[in-house]
Amino acid sequence: MTAHIACADLVRIFSAEGVEVQALQGLTLAVERGELTAIVGASGSGKSTLLAILSGLDVPTAGSARVAGHDLLAMSTRERTMYRRRTVGFVWQQTARNLLPYLTAAENIAMSLSVARSPRRGRAARVAGLLELLGIGAMRDRLPAEMSGGQQQRVAIAVALANEPEVMFADEPTGELDEGNSQLVFDAMRQVNEQLGVTVLIVTHDQEVSSQVRRTVQIRDGRTSTEVLRSTRTDEFGVESLHAQEFAVLDRVGRLQLPQEYLTRLSMKDRVRLELETDHVQVHPTEPEQ
């Protein structure tokens, strides 16, 4: 089975007068259908660029990217429009980018339905269902300015889900929220993922969020560097414990990024010594030259 979101060797170069900025330098990522994945990385690591490409708002310079069977590099304008309407939904960090300030919660959802030309008849039920699902039924006729930040982001999730997308992207959805509200919004996303089976990709630098996600992908310098997979295990005494395993991503030509933390701790620099064992590879810092 092919991955629901599949990126391989994605490159995106922004060039301005004389300056070239390589925001993505051969990023590879695969997300299975129904997965809830977090992408973390420092500011400037390229995560927002990745999301812009995945949402069809930007086009990569090279590489391949497929989302739910759509080839993002080969889409026509019409196909791209349909992709945004039906296949994906977005939640951004700033409420202003998610919701129109002069429309109520219900109207913001209806706007999304109207853009996708869904019939007028079913709209009221769909709007009510979504608001109910996200636990903000009381907000139906309120303007964004009359809601809390968390409520606004949940309305934004409802808007993103209006046209029953297969994938939902969220760019720092909790970036402007306090801890309590962050948790509410994150719970809402997890609920959407579990109940509706929507594949969810969250870009965040919030450790709280990433620690609650089964899979966290770290981006560094425009590449996926490491992955953490978390799982709960129940031991023989019936006590649940959380296990996290860290993986590094190996690209097609065998390049590998070691976590910065490892490098500093072992003072690895410039050159390392490799030893091939029967079932693994050892990486040693080189001895300081005598």
Binding site: F14, S15, A16, E17, V19, V21, A52, S55, L57, D58, T77, R78, T81, M82, Y83, R84, R85, R86, F90, A96, R97, N98, L99, L100, P101, Y102, L103, T104, A105, A106, E107, A110, M111, S112, L113, S114, V115, A116, R120, R123, A124, V127, R140, D141, R142, L143, E146, V159, N163
Partner: protein
């Protein structure tokens, strides 16, 4: 809070369009104002033309305007003496009366019925008493004569029943005008000897309506015509009415005599739109001889065509000038218009970007913007166009409405065109690819090329008064705008250079405000191209209007003085030197010069002798009141200095000149019409040399009077007139004519085009100031968000309110200062271009095309007003900007 949510697409769209309704309303008003201006302009020019046509033609005499025909009346001969009038001339009368209806429209709509008089040839008359004059008589017949006159003595003559050539003839009964009777001292019952048969005065009459144009055309029937020649007795010519039936007995005489017919033209109903057609029709009428029954014929002529053409020239010059002043204004209006449109698009951008991200297609995005454009533009435009037709009534021509429709259609089209999903893509400020630059270069080079081309074409076309048709000459009217845009492009390109120098200078100083202000002005100008353009064009329109107003005022005064020759011109038969001296000494008179002229003086150039007119004047005194004419008082190496009229000067080489056998020196050229009343070919000499060349300087017939500054021309003219009249012999008193330049000026000023022109320039300056204010306010308010954020940051960094105000001043200051400098230069340059490509003479009169006339006081005042307006707008906008910016504009971490 309860609010009902709308879930249907139309409801959502309505909510969307209603957001920011106040801003949209402002833009809608702006669009409506632009449409109104564009809809009014052609109507105003059309109406101006019509008013000028009616005014201009009303000034002309009926003798010039009316369709006047001369020819022979066909008279049926060989009829018995008892023949009726109808049998005699009925067919001719019927044909003549059909003329008006046979004329083509629109000419036919403005003429009255045919009026005609048939006359015998003129024969000498012998008065019953001796008088020192010669007397000639014409017999005239008019079918409607009895309606036109009333008898003051005697009664209407009856028809003559004599026979020409018979031995014994009864006298022909006639009636003469009381003016003629007075002149030749005839009373009822007198018999005048006459070639055909004796003539009996049976009645003396006066016109019932002396103002009737009939008496202008048939003036000899109203009063005698007196021909005066020096050394000869007065030659008095009189026409006398006979009973029309007399035509039967004198049929050969009347058939051989003259038929004079005229159709009165009423200019009060003329329409400017018909001007061209009228000219053609009048010329066609004049080119075709009209056949009348019984071998009669009639040929019309009329000065109407020429008079209309003069008006057309005047209106064309005025409308070209209007177009020029309005074109600059249109530039400012377009800039404001662009700012308005931009502001709407900018306000809709986030919503459109959001919709696009949610999957709205280009069609959906565009149609929502087009719909908004239609809603903003069309209702206001319909009202504006309707208002234009109400304000200036008249027929609505499709071509006139077209520009207004284009302006009204622009916002929806622009809204649609400027909305595309690609443009809405989120731009990364730090990495923004400046790909627009190539397009900007292309556009800028194109505008520069167009400006250069239009200047070149104008220069090549030379000084003309545009085409005959009224309307806006596109080349001329776009030149100032193109030039302004080109200059503005140059300014925006060069503008950072001095600012960088300022910035370098400020870097070494203490105080951050100047440095920051300069850096912002260079890197992130608050006022964009549209605002800068509107500032530059705005001030240039203000300066241009001021200079043009002064130029026109000076041109009008100069034109009037050129016509008169000085401030006052006196024409009289007798102007003795003593009188001239006395007038020169009158209060308010700077100088008075008598001008005499004599024909037939021999001028030898290169051995070839020709006869010229010699104009004699006291050239020293003439130079005093006419500085353009040099004094010719000193002989040049023994030769008499003279000026040659420009029409004649080409025939005179530098070779040795002799005037009446005396050596003469060609001191230069004088414009042919510089001396009023002079013929085309003349030489001017000082009166000191008059006797040398055998010219009698003692018989001047003209006098030029120059006034002291501030003297009341009217009062002086009245005093001069009475003094000159008193000095004339009794019979020549009626010949004194005093003309003042002020009189001519007042007449010219009464013309609608001159009034409109002066008004339009004032209006252009005023509206330009207003629009500039609006631009500055709009641009400044648009920049408020960025400014408030900066101000928030700077306040936290500890800047004092004074420093913050300085930073705000830097926003507007450099652009405004540059605009004032460049715009003033442009405003001074444009009149130079205008006066060198557009001949304003049909409009202001005068000998030479007027050049720009700059009054520093007015120009300074205009610039002052402009600066005041800009500062005021900036202050108001800054105050508003603060109001719109709540304390929460600056949230840490935002932006």
């Amino acid at each position: 809070m309860t609010r009902s949510s709308r879930l249907g697409t139309p409801g959502l769209l309505l909510r969307h369009l209603r957001s920011g309704a106040l801003g949209s309303l402002l833009v809608a008003v702006l669009i409506a104002a632009a449409v109104l201006a564009v809809a009014l302009a052609p109507r105003a020019i059309g109406q101006l033309g019509t008013r000028e046509l009616r005014h201009g033609l009303a000034q002309e005499s009926p003798a010039l305007l009316d369709l006047t025909g001369a020819g022979q009346l066909g008279i049926v001969t060989g009829l018995p003496a008892s023949a009726s009038l109808d049998e005699l001339v009925g067919a001719g009368e019927e044909r003549l009366q059909r003329i008006p209806e046979d004329l083509p429209a629109p000419l036919s709509e403005h003429v009255g019925p045919t009026q005609w008089v048939v006359s015998t040839t003129r024969h000498e008359g012998f008065l019953p008493h001796p008088l020192p004059l010669t007397f000639a008589l014409t017999l005239s017949a008019d079918l409607r004569w009895l309606d036109r006159i009333r008898f003051v003595s005697g009664s209407a003559p009856v028809s003559w029943d004599g026979t020409l050539g018979a031995e014994q003839q009864p006298p022909i009964p006639v009636a003469i005008s009381s003016a003629a009777a007075d002149k030749v001292q005839l009373v009822v019952g007198d018999v005048v000897g006459y070639g055909l048969a004796p003539v009996l005065i049976t009645g003396i009459y006066e016109p019932t309506d002396p103002d009737d144009a009939y008496w202008v055309h048939e003036s000899e029937l109203a009063r005698p015509m007196i021909v005066r020649e020096q050394g000869k007795p007065d030659d008095v010519r009189v026409a006398a009415y006979v009973d029309p039936l007399t035509i039967a007995a004198l049929s050969d005489e009347f058939a051989a005599g003259e038929l004079s017919a005229f159709l009165e033209v009423d200019p009060s109903g003329l329409d400017y739109a018909d001007a061209d057609e009228l000219q053609t029709q009048v010329r066609q009428l004049a080119a075709t001889q009209l056949s009348l029954p019984s071998f009669g014929s009639l040929l019309f002529r009329s000065g109407l065509g020429d008079a209309v053409e003069r008006v057309v020239q005047r209106v064309t010059a005025a409308s070209a000038l209007l177009a020029l002043s309005v074109s600059g204004l249109l530039g400012v209006l377009l800039a404001v218009f662009a700012l308005g449109v931009q502001s709407v698009i900018a306000r809709r951008r986030p919503a459109l970007a959001l919709a696009a991200a949610r999957g709205a297609g280009a069609l959906q995005l565009r149609s929502s913007m087009v719909l908004e454009g239609v809603l903003l533009s069309i209702p206001g435009a319909v009202v504006a166009i309707a208002l234009a037709t109400v304000l200036i009534p008249g027929p609505v021509a499709l071509l006139d409405v077209l520009p207004a429709v284009v302006v009204a259609a622009a916002p929806p089209v622009l809204f649609g065109a400027m909305t595309s999903p690609r443009r809405l893509r989120e731009l990364r400020g730090d990495l923004q690819v400046r790909s627009r630059h190539r397009m900007r270069w292309v556009a800028e080079v194109a505008i520069l090329a167009l400006a250069a081309l239009s200047l070149f074409l104008l220069a090549r076309r030379g000084l003309v008064a545009s085409s005959a048709a009224v309307g806006i000459d596109p080349l001329l009217s776009t030149t100032p705008l193109l030039l302004a845009t080109a200059v503005c492009i140059g300014v925006l390109r060069l503008y950072p250079v001095p600012l960088l120098a300022v910035q370098r200078l400020l870097r070494t100083r203490r105080g951050a405000a100047g440095l920051l202000g300069a850096a912002r002005a260079i890197r992130d100008p608050a006022l964009g191209f549209a605002a800068a353009l509107s500032l530059v064009v705005g001030i240039s329109v203000v300066v241009f209007s001021t200079v043009m107003a002064t130029t026109i005022r000076t041109g009008l005064v100069q034109g009037a003085q050129d016509v008169v020759g000085s401030d006052i011109q006196v024409s009289a038969a007798h102007l003795p030197a003593e009188l001239v001296d006395r007038i020169a000494a009158t209060d308010g008179v700077r100088g008075a010069v008598a001008i005499a002229q004599e024909a037939g003086v021999a001028l030898t150039a290169d051995g070839k002798e020709t006869e010229v007119f010699v104009v004699v004047a006291d050239t020293a005194a003439l130079h005093d009141i006419r500085p353009d004419i040099p004094a010719l008082t000193d002989r040049v190496e023994g030769a008499i200095p003279l000026l040659v009229s420009s029409d004649w000067s080409t025939r005179i080489t530098d070779a040795a000149l002799e005037l009446a056998g005396r050596d003469a020196d060609n001191a230069g050229e004088i414009a042919t019409d510089a001396i009023p009343g002079a013929t085309r070919h003349y030489v001017l000499i000082d009166r000191a040399f008059a006797a040398d060349v055998g010219v009698n300087a003692a018989a001047p017939d003209r006098m030029l009077i120059g006034l002291e500054p501030g003297a009341a021309a009217h009062d002086v003219a009245a005093a001069v007139e009475s003094a000159v009249t008193a000095a004339q012999p009794a019979q020549l008193r009626g010949l004194v004519v005093v003309t003042t330049a002020q009189q001519i000026l007042d007449e010219v000023r009464a013309s609608p085009t001159v009034a409109a022109m002066e008004g339009a320039l004032l209006l252009a300056a005023g509206v330009s100031l207003l629009l500039t204010m609006l631009t500055v306010a709009l641009a400044s308010i648009a920049a408020a968000t960025a400014r408030n954020r900066l101000v928030g940051v700077l306040r936290i960094l500890g800047m004092s309110p004074r420093q913050l105000r300085a930073i705000q001043a830097w926003e507007l200051g450099p652009v405004a200062i540059t605009a004032v400098l460049v715009g003033t230069g442009l405003g001074l340059l444009l009149p130079l271009i205008v006066t060198s490509v557009l001949d304003l003479r049909p409009f202001v009169g005068g000998r030479y095309p007027p050049g720009p006339s700059i009054d520093p006081l007015w120009v300074g005042g205009a610039i002052g007003a402009f600066v005041l307006v800009v500062v005021l707008a900036g202050v108001i906008a800054a105050a508003f900007g603060r109001r719109f910016a709540p304390a929460g504009t600056l949230k840490m971490g935002e932006g």
